[in-house]
């Protein structure tokens, strides 16, 4: 009797354990994702290793086989009961590009960004080297003047140029209705002109440099390191954002030609820009606009006022089909009107693993730059990007200078 009772008890316990195990196995919520490595809230490392290869289809040669490593370090410290936060960020690029040996160092490195931020309740202060985009337009912007175009490798994509971060002091004062922001660049923007012999060197500049190299002229290309700065007032509101701004700086490119005795000089010129920008949310669309006025600046070799406008629209159709269209127009008394359109049409495919699309710009003087591209993500860290970009335009026009630079690009990036 006793053994029988024991057997029954063992069987009951076994059944209960089995039931528990079975229940656990069937419990869909029996997972713990928090076991994954936690992110350190104070210090964070990041970066990537990238291989970017550009094959120029006109010249049928590899113009760039750049291997790049970027290392980023971020630091965050909150003090005074969370009212003030100190943050630091630094990123360093190390590159190797054997194909640029004729005009640029094969191995190069630079501090891309390095800044310290004091983030307070009423005022934020940033000191260091930083990229800051101003304005609301996506392709061509009249207001994005805090950072210089990187003329050595100027193609961000077919409708935007790549920019170089600037050393600056930035103060943001929070006001009841908006934010007042002031930026001061003690040594000006970090302008880098294309090297002599680079495929991105404009024809006119190359011609002058060639004459200098041949001993035909004495040429000085001035690199002004004077301070620049600007201020803007921004309001982000319900349905509508707007800003008013002013920037006092220099043109990116040396556009003023002067001669003293037998010495030729190319210099950038001061440009003061008064600007306004706005963005309106309209259900599924956004309208964006910018207007900028620069009095007494230098346009097409002569002094003139310059008025620039951008009007844009973008919208997402269905789930992921994104369309972006922007019209731009520049008017100066000293030259013909400059006008055009930038565009982008992109979509996500293959469970959003890939972005595919076409984007570019079409402008006066028969200029265009058009790019078809695909970015494919393998998992969380590895991305393959391909693009084919073509340029065209009249001789001497900005895009016409890159007429022979149509390229296929293949980029493999591993991020950590």
């Amino acid at each position: 009797m006793s053994n029988r009772r024991l057997n029954v008890s063992v069987a009951a316990i076994f059944s209960w354990v089995l039931a528990c195990c079975s229940h656990a196995a069937n419990d869909p919520f029996d997972f713990d994702l928090t076991a994954a490595a936690a992110v350190d809230p104070t210090w964070q490392w990041a970066g990537y290793f990238e291989s970017r290869n550009q094959y120029f289809t006109e010249t049928q040669g590899w113009e760039s086989t750049r291997a790049q490593a970027r290392f980023e370090l971020k630091w965050v410290q909150t003090v005074m009961s969370g009212e003030v936060q100190w943050r630091g960020f630094a990123s360093v690029d190390v590159e190797h590009d054997a194909r640029t040996r004729d005009y640029r160092d094969v191995v190069r490195s630079e501090v891309r960004e390095a800044f310290l931020v004091r983030d307070g309740v009423a005022m934020d202060v940033t000191v260091g080297k930083q990229r800051i985009a101003w304005g609301t337009a996506d392709g061509v912007s009249t207001i994005d003047r805090v950072n210089a175009v990187d003329f050595r490798d100027p193609i961000g994509n077919a409708r935007t140029s790549s920019r170089r971060p600037s050393w600056l002091v930035r103060v943001e004062r929070k006001l009841p209705l908006g934010t007042l922001e002031a930026v001061w660049l003690p040594r000006g923007r970090d302008v880098k002109l294309p090297e002599f012999g680079s495929p991105w060197e404009p024809t006119d500049l190359h011609s002058l440099r060639q004459q200098r190299a041949d001993g035909l002229i004495r040429l000085d290309i001035e690199d002004i390191k004077a301070h620049e700065g600007g201020v803007r007032y921004l309001v982000y509101g319900e349905g509508f954002d707007w800003s008013l701004g002013y920037f006092n700086g220099y043109t990116d490119a040396p556009v003023q030609f002067s001669q003293r005795l037998d010495q030729l000089r190319l210099s950038p010129v001061r440009i003061r820009t008064y600007n306004a920008a706005g963005a309106v949310g309209l259900s599924s669309s956004t309208l964006r606009g910018e207007i900028a006025f620069a009095p007494d600046t230098w346009v097409a070799g002569r002094q003139s006022d310059l008025l620039q406008m951008v009007v844009g629209w973008d919208r997402t159709f269905f789930a992921n089909l994104y369309a972006n269209l922007q019209l731009f127009w520049d008017e100066a008394r000293s030259s013909e009107e400059s006008y055009g359109v930038t565009f982008a049409l992109t979509n996500k495919v293959w469970d959003d693993a890939a972005d595919i699309g076409i984007r570019g710009q079409v402008a006066n003087a028969q200029q265009h730059a058009v790019e078809v591209f695909m970015d494919y993500s393998f998992g969380d860290n590895l991305k393959l990007s391909t693009k084919y970009l073509v340029f065209d335009g009249s001789t001497g026009s900005p895009l016409g200078d890159f007429d022979a630079n149509d390229f296929l690009e293949l980029t493999l990036r591993w991020e950590f």
């Binding site: 994954a36 982000y236 963005a279 919208r315 789930a319 992921n320 969380d380 860290n381």
Partner: protein, 258 residues
Amino acid sequence: MFKTKYVMATVSLIAALHSHAQMPTGRDIAQRMDDVNSAQDGTRDATMLIERGGQKLQRKLNMMNKKFGDDERSIIRFIEPADVRDTQFLSWTYEATEKDDDMWVFFPSENLIRRISGGGKKGSFMRSDFANEDIEQRAVDDDVHMLLEESEWGNVAVFVIESVPIPAKAKDSNYAKRKTWVDKETWLALKVEYYDRRGRLLKQMTQGGIEQIDGIWTATKIIMETPRKKSRTLMQYANVRYNLGLQDSVFEQSSLKR
């Protein structure tokens, strides 16, 4: 005998009428669900694991929200994967159905704050089985709610309601209707089925890991499945905290920084 039967019939009728009067409407239930999170503000860390075929993708993000009267403002900061690290979404959502939500995205590489439209709500949230519209707070009157039945789901007494977007909101939604199993005790959704315009089941969400945090019932684990894609996303919340007294300025554009 006749008198007893008459009294019993009358009592039954009154009880039935009373019972019917007590039955909440679909909107009542939706409102109760909306009221569960009574906190003025909150923050939480979220980890997502996307399982699709043989692929596993992991995402980490931090979410903060605060109520501004009937409206709500929220910030989502992406922590992983690396290519979207420090990207942030700020949204101001309005209870008034005729008013479009305001949304901005912060791109850290350019220090750029950019207004975006609501057209992307149908898209996938970080390649997961969640759509962008699943992540954001949905106003009660964005849908018409109907009580379908009282039932049981996993030994829990539930109301089953059907929610159909109002015409003004239908164009921004992937779903023609949602069917929700609502726990009668906690007023949390235990299961949601999402249907397309042809009445086909698109996705199914189940919630678990339910616990009271700071006195507020909270589902800490969510599973979203897309049967047609043979894909599912597990989401788990950690460090959930409510009523922290977050300042209004946290939900302004000036706080969007790397």
